[in-house]
């Protein structure tokens, strides 16, 4: 496991201090923009800006690198499979048997790979700079019932924990002579069954334990709740929200007018 079981990186930067609802609005706007645009350069620019913002907020390169390492296998898969499954357009770069790879296919694959990373980093901006209570309050603040907010926040927080658990499970099977790397592609895919089953069992046990732990600490769905630190939109939030709104509208308009 990399930098701990939680993505949240404690800090007091301007990004940490922003209201979670502002950051959620940023995530929503990012999704709209990234899914709407077909320009590689725009997605690249988005990623550069997001990285600059994260660095400015004091998120270390080491943690950003760890996130990229998690995203890399999926990105690679997209870069390989997309051109193979979208052989349309010209010019054709490779034509062999049923394989047809074209320049537009590669471009679309690159766009899809970058887009997936863009979407992930939009969510990372929220998760890296918002603590658990802020996340729950933010979700409740945008209209989710408290129980849903808590469930979603816990689910997001537990993703890195499951990754860590997967690493340990893999080690436990390797210690019993399990060597998937010595198999062919299909056999290797099948060989991962043991780790996935153990992961599901582990996750179910974890959920069960967590449910009991919540109940033991007095959590009862449907009960009215108070907050120690009520959310408040400050001037910095209003400036950011205005900026996000203007930028989103401008880019949507640009996409609509020019494409």
């Amino acid at each position: 496991m990399g930098p701990g079981f939680d993505l949240y990186t404690a800090g007091t930067s301007w990004l940490h201090r922003l209201d979670p609802r502002t950051k959620m609005t940023f995530v929503g706007a990012s999704f709209v923009l990234l899914l709407l645009t077909g320009q590689i350069i725009l997605v690249l620019a988005y990623l550069v800006v997001v990285h600059a913002v994260l660095r400015r907020a004091g998120i270390p390169w080491r943690r950003i690198g760890w996130l990229w390492a998690r995203m890399w296998p999926l990105t690679l898969l997209i870069l390989i499979l997309w051109p193979l499954s979208n052989p349309g357009g010209e010019p054709v770069l490779v034509q062999w048997w049923w394989i047809r790879i074209t320049l537009p296919g590669i471009g679309q694959g690159l766009l899809a790979g970058l887009r997936v990373n863009g979407l992930a980093f939009a969510v990372y901006v929220l998760l890296l700079t918002t603590d658990q209570s802020g996340l729950v309050q933010g979700l409740v603040g945008i209209g989710l019932p408290f129980e849903w907010g808590l469930a979603l926040a816990i689910g997001l927080r537990y993703l890195p924990l499951l990754l860590g658990m997967y690493g340990t499970i893999t080690d436990a099977q390797r210690a019993r002579g399990w060597t998937p790397e010595e198999e062919g592609l299909v056999r290797r895919a099948r060989a991962y069954g043991p780790t996935l089953v153990a992961l599901v069992i582990g996750a179910l046990r974890l959920t069960d334990g967590l449910t009991l732990a919540l109940a033991a600490r007095g959590f009862r769905p449907g009960q009215p709740r108070t907050t120690r630190r009520p959310l408040q939109l400050r001037w910095a939030d209003r400036v950011c929200l205005a900026g996000i709104g203007v930028l989103t509208l401008a880019l949507v308009a640009a996409e609509w007018i020019y494409l």
């Binding site: 080491r62 436990a172 390797r174 210690a175 019993r176 002579g177 399990w178 060597t179």
Partner: protein, 279 residues
């Protein structure tokens, strides 16, 4: 001189280039010995154990198993010589039946069909698991799940066994049962490296102790010698068994201060009384 089962030479390991888990650790574990690895949480015990079966590779130094460097060997190949029991049985269990769970390691290590079946049968019997053979291990209670993972480890017959807090969460009876089986393995010449916080267990079962502190090997030696050094143990946040502590408190009255078990203490105390009263 006994053969060396595990040898670590100036091993260091750092997680993600920032958390230094082991610093320049050198040690040897003789074949046929039972070595307890103790130290506070985060002292590097599990890291050291994982270096011994190749799950982790030292960034500096080398690890030898039965005299051979394991640097270039895959974990699967090292598993023939070094069996590793993880702390949490749920990190291992996946098969639909206990039988298949135990057979998993045997198949991976390439045991032929007949020998596999024979090993499977004898392991199920030895661990009183025959009645559970066709049940899914995931739904068994914790004690039985732990038993299944230990059985799975023993079935492979690796001559070096590494156990990470294997008795944690087990009741006394199951715990003693597990330790007795390990004792049987040691009696036939297998080597045992046992990570634990239970100092009573260390006193009663181990031959030698290794004390880790902040990634460094603070001390290593026979159990009696190490456990009778309270200042050293305190430095590693480890406390001796209560009976050893009591024996140390009674040093001014003539006790040697190195009793490891209640029986040890009783015999020394009775001898001391007899000497004083001229019996």
């Amino acid at each position: 001189m006994a053969e060396c089962a595990i040898e670590l030479e100036k091993c260091s390991y750092t997680y993600d280039g920032q958390v230094r888990a082991l610093r320049n650790v050198s040690c040897t574990i003789e074949a046929g010995s039972w070595v307890a690895l103790v130290g506070q949480n985060g002292s590097g015990k599990s890291t050291l154990a994982k270096l011994c079966n190749g799950l982790l590779r030292p960034q500096e130094g080398r690890v030898r198993i039965n005299g051979a460097d394991i640097r270039d060997r895959p974990v699967g190949s090292v598993a023939r010589e070094v069996g590793y029991l993880f702390q949490n049985p749920d990190h291992q269990i996946f098969a639909p039946t206990v039988r298949e769970e135990i057979a998993f390691g045997l198949r991976n290590l390439g045991f032929p069909g007949e020998e596999r079946e024979q090993r499977l049968r004898s392991t199920l019997e030895a661990f009183d698991l025959t009645a559970y053979a066709d049940r899914p291990p995931a739904v068994l209670g914790f004690g039985l799940r732990r038993q299944v993972t230990v059985a799975s480890l023993f079935a492979c017959g690796s001559p070096i066994l590494i156990l990470d807090e294997a008795t944690q969460g087990l009741d006394w009876q199951r715990s003693q049962g597990l330790l007795d089986r390990l004792q049987e393995r040691q009696d036939v010449g297998h080597t045992i490296l046992f990570i634990t916080h239970d100092m009573r267990l260390v006193a009663e079962r181990a031959n030698r102790v290794m004390v880790l502190h902040q990634g460094e090997l603070l001390a290593e030696g026979p159990v009696r010698k190490i456990l009778s050094r309270p200042h050293l143990l305190a430095r590693a946040s480890v406390s001796p068994p209560p009976v050893t502590h009591l024996s140390q408190l009674l040093r001014p009255w003539g006790m040697k201060g190195d009793s490891l078990t209640v029986e040890d203490f009783y015999l020394e105390y009775v001898a001391l009384l007899a000497e004083r009263e001229g019996v």
